[in-house]
């Protein structure tokens, strides 16, 4: 029994390593790999449609990616799609999954089996109203002053001048 803490530690490390593994994706349009995250930046390479890329991070509407050749640069975020996380309810490893002590799954990610708290259309269609739960929400409600202090702490600066977006045909 005393080996469990050690085993857990190993699983956690494996999970962390897995989480550090970056996301894979592929391009859905041909485009240019830019040297910085803006459309006026110089072009590092031309990238054909369906090119496999590794996503390093996002900044605004751009992803910092690495190609199989090792070249790095920036692509508009909507020019790629993440590779599917697979069939059924099995989802690959995650930055958060490495922190959960799931007890069974290690670096391969969690498996949806028993005990998952579901919420489907049937649960809502057959729900019995719980008015007290609505009253109890007051305990967590924020006041405008608290929200403003919270925003200032990040800091967040309000930009009220930004106008609403009209509907456009894609």
């Amino acid at each position: 029994m005393s080996r469990w803490p050690g085993l857990c530690a190993i699983l956690l490390v494996l999970g962390a390593v897995h989480a550090a593994a970056v996301s894979t994706a592929q391009t859905v349009v041909a485009g240019n790999l830019n040297s910085s995250p803006n459309s006026d930046a110089s072009v590092v390479a031309a990238v054909p449609n369906a090119t496999a890329v590794t996503v390093i991070r996002r900044q605004g509407g751009w992803y910092h990616v690495r190609l199989a050749s090792g070249q790095e640069g920036w692509l508009p975020m909507t020019s790629i799609r993440y590779n599917s996380s697979g069939k059924g309810s099995v989802v690959p490893g995650t930055d958060w999954s490495s922190l959960f002590q799931s007890g069974r799954s290690g670096s391969s990610g969690a498996t949806a089996t028993t005990g998952v708290r579901g919420l489907n259309t049937g649960d809502i269609a057959n729900a019995t109203p719980d008015p007290q739960a609505v009253v109890d929400l007051d305990q967590w409600q924020s006041k405008p002053g608290q929200a403003k202090d919270f925003a200032a702490a990040l800091p967040l600066t309000a930009a009220p001048q930004i106008g609403y977006l009209p509907q456009v045909k894609p």
């Binding site: 996380s85 989802v91 958060w96 005990g115 925003a151 894609p170």
Partner: protein, 306 residues
């Protein structure tokens, strides 16, 4: 409005003409008119309370004060940038590993823990909350619930009016009774697709006005687009919303046209978000440690994202 009342009267007439002998048509008209008036704020909040009670009846808020406090602060700060900053806004994370978020009239916004765990920064959370806040601001659910509840009332109205006068005084109570049943239908079937796309476009603007990187919502939609749409975790979201891919296409086109790229350098809030999530996970692990091994839940978890 007049044409809707006329249509309702026509429906009433068709449904209940045989029962209307002796009923005062003037009373009938005022009854229907009252049922079709726009909701005042008190009525909206009452309807929202009923709808929220239905949603929380299906999934309770998680018992994590730090997480609930955090979501309320992010949510209120985003809502303060909207055209309805003075509503009594309430936000909550509900106890489900499946992926969805909900809004109810009067300022109620809920998201599942499963959706929260598919996010990677405060800007992503702000984008999702901005979408739900927009539903409230645009009164999408209010209008849908009122229409559903009224149609039900109208179909019963002919009989009620025919049977006794004085029906008017009970109208509000009857309307409220109808809201619970209409909520169960609305929240399991979803709004019109157009309402969802409208809320996406307004949601990113509210997040941007709040000082966040406006691409957070788009990033969440990209994460969800990689989750198997046939998995149980996506069942409710797919049944009630357009597919993530369709939303990405419509939203990114609008964001490009609106030149939101210039605000892409605004705050991401990744560290603050991660701190709250790590606390949530640590508490979940503590719960698991004290639970019996066979009761340990295996959760559906998101794919890694940078």
């Amino acid at each position: 409005m007049k044409s809707r009342i006329a249509a309702a009267l026509l429906g009433l007439t068709l449904l209940g003409l045989p029962l209307l002998a002796g009923a005062d048509l003037g009373d009938l008209f005022s009854t229907i008119k009252q049922a079709f008036k726009p909701a005042d704020l008190d009525t909206e909040i009452a309807i929202g309370h009923d709808a929220a009670a239905t949603l929380l009846g299906a999934s309770k808020p998680i018992n994590e004060a730090a997480v609930q406090d955090y979501v309320n602060k992010v949510g209120l700060w985003v809502a303060l940038q909207s055209d309805r900053p003075d509503l009594p806004w309430h936000f909550a994370v509900v106890d489900s590993d499946d992926i969805d978020a909900f809004a109810a009239p009067g300022g109620f916004v809920f998201l599942t823990r499963g959706l929260l765990l598919h996010m990677h920064s405060e800007a992503e959370l702000a984008g999702v909350l901005g979408h739900e806040i927009s539903h409230v601001v645009l009164k999408h659910h209010l209008k849908a619930l009122q229409t559903a509840a009224r149609l039900d009332l109208v179909s019963q109205g002919a009989q009620a009016v025919a049977q006794e006068k004085g029906y008017n005084s009970d109208l509000d109570n009857q309307l409220m009774d109808k809201v619970s049943s209409a909520s169960r239908t609305l929240y399991s079937k979803g709004l019109d697709k157009g309402d969802e796309l409208d809320a996406d476009r307004m949601g990113v603007v509210l997040a941007a006005r709040a000082g966040y990187d406006p691409y957070g919502l788009l990033a969440v939609l990209q994460t969800l687009a990689a989750v198997d749409p046939h998995s149980s975790s996506m069942q409710l979201l797919m049944a009630t919303h357009p597919a993530p891919e369709d939303r990405i296409i419509a939203l990114s086109a609008a964001m490009d046209a609106g030149k939101l790229e210039q605000f892409g350098m605004q705050a991401e809030g990744q560290e603050r978000f991660e701190g709250v999530i790590k606390e949530l996970i640590a508490d979940t692990n503590k719960e698991k440690a004290s639970a019996k091994p066979e009761a340990i839940s295996q959760r559906i978890l998101p794919a890694a994202r940078p």
